[in-house]
């Protein structure tokens, strides 16, 4: 199964994946200035890894982003997002206060503007990248047909 992929696909994916990844990061980081934002950014980042997974097989993809890292990324992104909200209580006394904008207002239309919006976009991108990769990874590894039980015993942790 591993070796019937064409060489061209492997080579092209090797070149394409970093660019797709960078495009995703760009979408997330410039979401407050141009169309885009955390969600599409995260999906595009995940797509880079999925490309590696499909073109070069499971070991190559998992060497770039192990299962545990993807899982932590998912939860950490969500925690970071909530953490920004709680930090708002800590700094300005209001849940989800945009405390960076309050104290360090950037120049509008420059990159550093919008305060916590940048952090939130990054947090969402992390979260979405982790979760989309996880779902598509498990669905692509799932056995297509056959007798007996399906599913992953690795997911049955106690």
């Amino acid at each position: 199964m591993e070796d019937n992929r064409s060489l061209i696909i492997k080579r092209v994916s090797r070149w394409m994946a970093p660019f797709i990844f960078l495009y995703g990061v760009y979408l997330a980081l410039y979401g407050h200035l141009s169309p885009g934002g955390g969600f599409p950014g995260g999906v595009v980042v995940a797509a880079a890894f999925i490309l590696i997974l499909l073109a070069r097989g499971e070991p190559a993809a998992l060497s770039k982003i192990p299962y545990a890292v993807a899982k932590e990324l998912d939860a950490l992104g969500a925690l970071l997002f909530l953490g920004v909200g709680l930090a708002g209580i800590g700094v300005s006394g209001v849940f989800f206060a945009n405390f960076i904008q309050e104290f360090l207002p950037g120049q509008p239309l420059e990159w550093f503007s919008g305060g916590t919006i940048i952090i939130n976009n990054v947090a969402i991108a992390m979260k979405v990248a982790g979760s989309i990769f996880l779902v598509l990874y498990f669905l692509s590894v799932l056995r297509i047909s056959g007798e007996g039980e399906v599913g992953f015993s690795s997911l049955e942790e106690k």
């Binding site: 545990a68 932590e72 998912d74 939860a75 950490l76 969500a78 849940f95 945009n98 049955e156 106690k158």
Partner: protein, 524 residues
């Protein structure tokens, strides 16, 4: 105490995210952490009980941002969810031993709880839709938690129809937005009270309200839309059935519906009639099907449909009486009866489901439990809890269930709907043999082989719940009633919440528009 408001949502969310992060080997720690989070939510909900108020998220004034609103009704329901959720989480810390990956269960349960708290507190219809989605998506998964085919089928049925209901809810919100330009409930209330033409059949507002009532009605398993509920409650783990029947169904259904129809739209009699129709259908269909079946889980879930029907009926009738302007006192009594029955339903249904779950835990063999014969013979405590809770559910005099049903029926009669009142009397009497048969079958006959002892934690939470079932009747004593139930009913009927806030907002936006027009003029 308003600084606690964001914590009530943030605590379960953060707890859920953290638990999902933990690897499987920290099982003991995660159970401990789960119960700890539950206790802290319970504590903050208790601390929130005395006051009312609002909280502006992000510091934006609230048609601009989103607000939490804590009024007489939402504080009561917040505490109800916390009490039931606390009991259920202590229970599931040992009940979930039956299943694999308990940590994921804990995380999902906390997310469900966060969705419910967010739904209760939100003062914005779109935001409420989002939090309802969190709660129901978590419950789709929890229904299929066992991964057996019949459980997955129940989850699929629930999820497919739920997705359609959510889409209709969103369409309703879109129509509301297009005719009013806002999704904030306080501003909607102001807008609808300023509209010259009332909500009539064929107006977009009625279309929107109709869609919203049907969408939320699906989630509260009202009669023509109840098809998912018995399957789901039979398939889910017992603790999930308890939480769903007592909190989820009521909060995302009845609470969200009545907030929309009463507070946002300003008591629309037509929509209230729709609510009464749904309630009446579910009272009778629930009773009919629960009498027909012998399987304990199904008896309980159909009874739950029927009991929630009483609540919806009482709330709807209260709205009709209020909007006809005949007697404010009577409409408050109807709402008090409905809300009181809602609380009772939460306590007795959750203890019934948890008691049944203990029997399943004890016997292991599910088929035997499915038959329901003799399952409580070896478990005196569980049998006792079940008997008390069913007595309250069936409306036997000293218990709280009797008082709430009595108030509903008497107020319905006094409001000039004797036909409906007679129907309700008939259905209340009809529930007696159903519960009698349920309890007597469970207490008689051959006891099945007992494999696992019911643990101390499970017993503790059952006792906690049965104390709640019994002590709920104190809530109807005049000082407590006027402090909590009456204020909840009044807050639901209150025409324009936070009026001063909306006036302040109108001033702000007028200033912004004026200064803008001025500068624009100079430029040209």
């Amino acid at each position: 105490m308003n600084f606690l408001l964001p914590l009530v949502v943030a605590l379960p969310l953060g707890g859920g995210f953290l638990l999902a992060l933990l690897p499987g080997r920290f099982l003991k720690f995660s159970s401990f952490f789960f119960v700890l989070v539950a206790i802290s939510i319970l504590l903050s909900s208790i601390l929130l009980l005395p006051g009312t108020g609002y909280y502006e998220i992000g510091g934006w004034i609230f048609p601009l941002g989103i607000n939490f609103s804590l009024d007489g009704l939402s504080r009561l329901l917040l505490l109800m969810i916390a009490l039931v959720g606390f009991a259920v989480s202590v229970y599931s810390a040992s009940y979930m031993d039956l299943y694999t990956s308990r940590i994921r269960f804990y995380a999902l349960f906390l997310l469900l709880w966060a969705g419910l708290n967010g739904t209760v507190l939100s003062g914005d219809i779109f935001n409420r839709y989002v939090y309802v989605e969190i709660a129901v998506i978590a419950s789709y998964i929890l229904v299929g938690f066992g991964c057996a085919p019949h459980e997955l089928k129940a989850a699929l049925k629930y999820a497919v129809l739920g997705a359609v209901a959510s889409a209709f809810t969103l369409l309703g919100i879109a129509v509301v937005y297009s005719i009013t330009g806002t999704v904030n409930i306080a501003q909607l209330a102001a807008r609808f009270s300023n509209f010259t033409e009332p909500v009539f059949i064929g107006s977009p507002a009625f279309f929107a309200g109709f869609l919203l009532v049907l969408g939320f009605g699906y989630k509260s398993a009202q009669a023509p839309l109840h098809v998912w509920q018995p399957d789901a409650f039979s398939a889910a783990p017992a603790s999930v059935s308890a939480m769903m029947s007592s909190a989820l169904v009521v909060i995302v259904g009845i609470y969200a519906m009545s907030r929309t129809v009463f507070t946002a739209f300003g008591v629309v009699a037509l929509l209230c009639w729709l609510m009464v129709f749904l309630g009446l259908c579910s009272v009778f269909l629930g009773l009919y099907y629960s009498a027909k079946t012998d399987r304990p889980r199904r008896v309980l879930s159909y009874q739950s449909i029927s009991q929630v029907g009483y609540v919806l009926l009482a709330v709807g009738l209260g709205g009709i009486v209020y909007s006809s302007g005949e007697s404010l006192n009577l409409s408050i009594w109807l709402l008090v009866g409905g809300l009181f029955h809602l609380l009772n339903h939460a306590f007795f249904m959750s203890s019934l489901f948890l008691a049944l779950g203990s029997a399943e835990f004890n016997t292991v063999d599910v088929d035997c439990c499915d038959a329901g014969q003799g399952i409580f013979v070896d478990l005196p405590l569980v049998g006792c809890v079940s008997a008390i809770a069913s007595a309250s559910a069936a409306g036997i005099p000293p218990f709280a269930g009797f008082i709430s049903k009595f108030i509903i029926i008497a107020a319905t009669w006094a409001a000039g709907f004797p036909f409906i009142a007679l129907l309700l009397v008939f259905s209340t009497l009809g529930a007696l043999p159903v519960f009698y048969r349920y309890i007597s079958r469970a207490l008689q006959g051959q006891s099945p082989v007992s494999r696992r002892p019911v643990t101390l934690l499970m017993k503790g939470s059952l006792i906690f719940l049965v104390v709640l079932v019994v002590s709920a009747s104190f809530l109807i004593l005049p000082p407590l009633r006027s402090a909590y139930l009456d204020s909840a009913a009044v807050s639901l009927l209150e025409e324009r919440p936070y009026e001063e806030k909306i006036n302040e907002w109108e001033k702000i936006i007028k200033d912004a528009g004026d200064s803008d027009r001025k500068t624009g003029g100079i430029e040209q």
